[in-house]
Point group: C2
Chain length 338, copies 2
């Protein structure tokens, strides 16, 4: 492999507030050699997700932060170049965690083999991967939507929200999405079948929610926290369930902003529960089975926002935190499987 | 009854911020006549509880607000004067909901007969009544403390907190109380058997909690919300449970203050759940059985703060919201049962 070059994007400085492109640097290094039991892969797609903001910041995250001058972490769909493990062979397509680089070495136990005949391989980074599984378990285990109940979803056109909303529809709930543009509003209603959607940048959220959810809110699938959560809390019903799945509104905050007043939680005996998908790894098969079937039967639709070229990852990630993506954001790093 | 006078304390104005004595007025009226199926009682004790602040304010509460120029509502222990219902007879002692007045008429289904040989009758307003039942179910159903876990309780010397802490001890947890004076701190440790207590007015809460709870916090029984909740959240463990039972810190607030940043909830997959005791009415017997037994065996201790005289109820209530009481606050309105 010594004739090939590995391109990496390194973390150069920990952003304070919004990341800028100067926090990242593209470098060229040599391609690593896989050791015993390890596998060398080349990246086809990498995933950009809001949680990564926590990994590059200075504050305590729920996992180890990315070290300065290391490649940014992310899920990837990759192709095996060289395998020192019997379960994987050259040319296999795998779900990997290579990060922002064109080549990487992983231990076999971190890889999952993908079957390109079952679904587009990039889906393993979205609807059939971490974001889809987040939507599935946070909604069904914490949200527990029932037929006829009202479910509100923030960041509703994104990788997680779009799947959560469609699953809530499958379960017979009335679903209202909160989004950041008219285009996204039309998408979740017309393409995904949500009952209503609100463009929070144009509409006054409190009044718009009252109109869209005249019977109050039973489940709020919270991807954002912040002002949206505060407003939603004033319209929850008795016994409402709120999976707290993401904090998009404050990932760029320099210091943690205050949260919502919790009086509506007490009055309504409602529950807010934090969710991390890693706790559900042992139940992955339930998720894969249901969501694959819904995709095949057309009950579930999925939209990707594909940016081409590793060098564009920083700019795309900065935009993601501002809601500029439309659908699940991934970066195409290398040629498709060959 | 026409030769007797009913004294009542009426709500004269809805307080904005801290209530003042001028928001209340003592009046004398005639004693009401009980109708069919109704019972006339005279008040022996009335209960003062923080939740009543919500009933006299202007904002939406979880129950009907007290009307202007009506008697303030509260639980009472009363003696039957005249009964038009076969289940009750003159001289019976009952748990009632007569409010701040010396006589009242109630429907039979709202009364519960008390047995003065089983426990002091005033206990029905505290450890064997609504506050005790709040402590019992909020702790056991939401908090679910386990042997060796750390439980933190705010307003820990009060009617609810003192019972919750002792039950957590009975369940084998390490219990830390947060209180507002050195006297109360000594009380919960030396009298009630808490493992530690913090005087939040003298000690820096964050550092004091780290010292008292070196293994982190598994259950936070929250009577106060506000700054205490914010500080506690930074020290919760994975899977922490937080019953939100009261909002003492903000009952007097003119507008709802912001709440805590919820990031620690997400990172720790913790849960905050609102609690109202009325949801557990159907399980009252479980509570009465356990707590009566613990009282009789000496496992549970109970302290009352008795103010004498109906006319002193407003001042005592204002003090309650500032933490001036020491133990369960009740007002002795009339002679004990005769």
């Amino acid at each position: 492999m010594s004739d090939l070059i590995n391109k990496q994007i390194l973390l150069k400085s920990r952003p304070v507030g919004e990341p800028t492109e100067s926090d990242f640097a593209l470098v060229e290094t040599s391609i690593p050699e896989p050791g015993d039991g390890e596998i060398l892969t080349r990246t086809i797609y990498l995933s950009l997700d809001p949680y990564m903001r926590g990994r590059i910041g200075a504050s305590k995250s729920y996992t180890t932060n990315v070290e300065l001058n290391s490649a940014i972490v992310s899920g990837t769909v990759s192709q095996v170049v060289k395998s020192n493990h019997p379960h994987f062979q050259a040319r296999d397509i795998v779900l990997d965690y290579n990060g922002w680089q064109t080549f990487g070495v992983s231990k076999a136990e971190l890889l999952r083999k993908l079957d390109p005949t079952q679904a587009p391989i990039s889906y393993a980074l979205g609807v059939l991967g971490m974001p889809g599984m987040t939507a599935y378990f946070a909604l069904l285990d914490i949200g527990q939507p029932k037929v006829g109940e009202t479910v509100v979803i923030s960041a509703a056109s994104g990788a997680v929200g779009s799947v959560a909303g469609q699953i809530a529809k499958i379960k017979g709930s009335r679903v209202i999405g909160i989004v950041g543009s008219d285009e996204k509003r039309d998408f979740v209603v017309k393409e995904l079948g949500f009952d209503a959607a609100i463009n929070r940048k144009k509409q006054e959220l409190n009044a718009a929610l009252q109109e869209a959810a005249p019977n109050g809110i039973d489940v709020y699938f919270d991807n954002t926290a912040g002002a949206i959560l505060e407003t939603v809390l004033h319209q929850i019903n008795l016994g409402a369930r709120i999976p707290l799945v993401g904090l998009i509104s404050e990932y760029n905050a320099v210091s943690p902003p205050p949260g919502p007043n919790l009086r509506p939680l007490l009055i309504n005996r409602a529950v807010i529960k934090g969710f991390l998908v890693r706790d559900y790894q042992h139940r992955q098969n339930e998720f894969l089975s249901d969501v694959s079937n819904w995709l095949k039967s057309g009950k579930l639709k999925y939209k990707e926002d594909v940016v081409v070229g590793l060098e564009n990852a920083p700019r795309a990630f900065i935009g993601l935190l501002q809601g500029e993506n439309f659908g699940k954001l991934i970066v195409k790093v290398g040629d498709d499987y060959t």
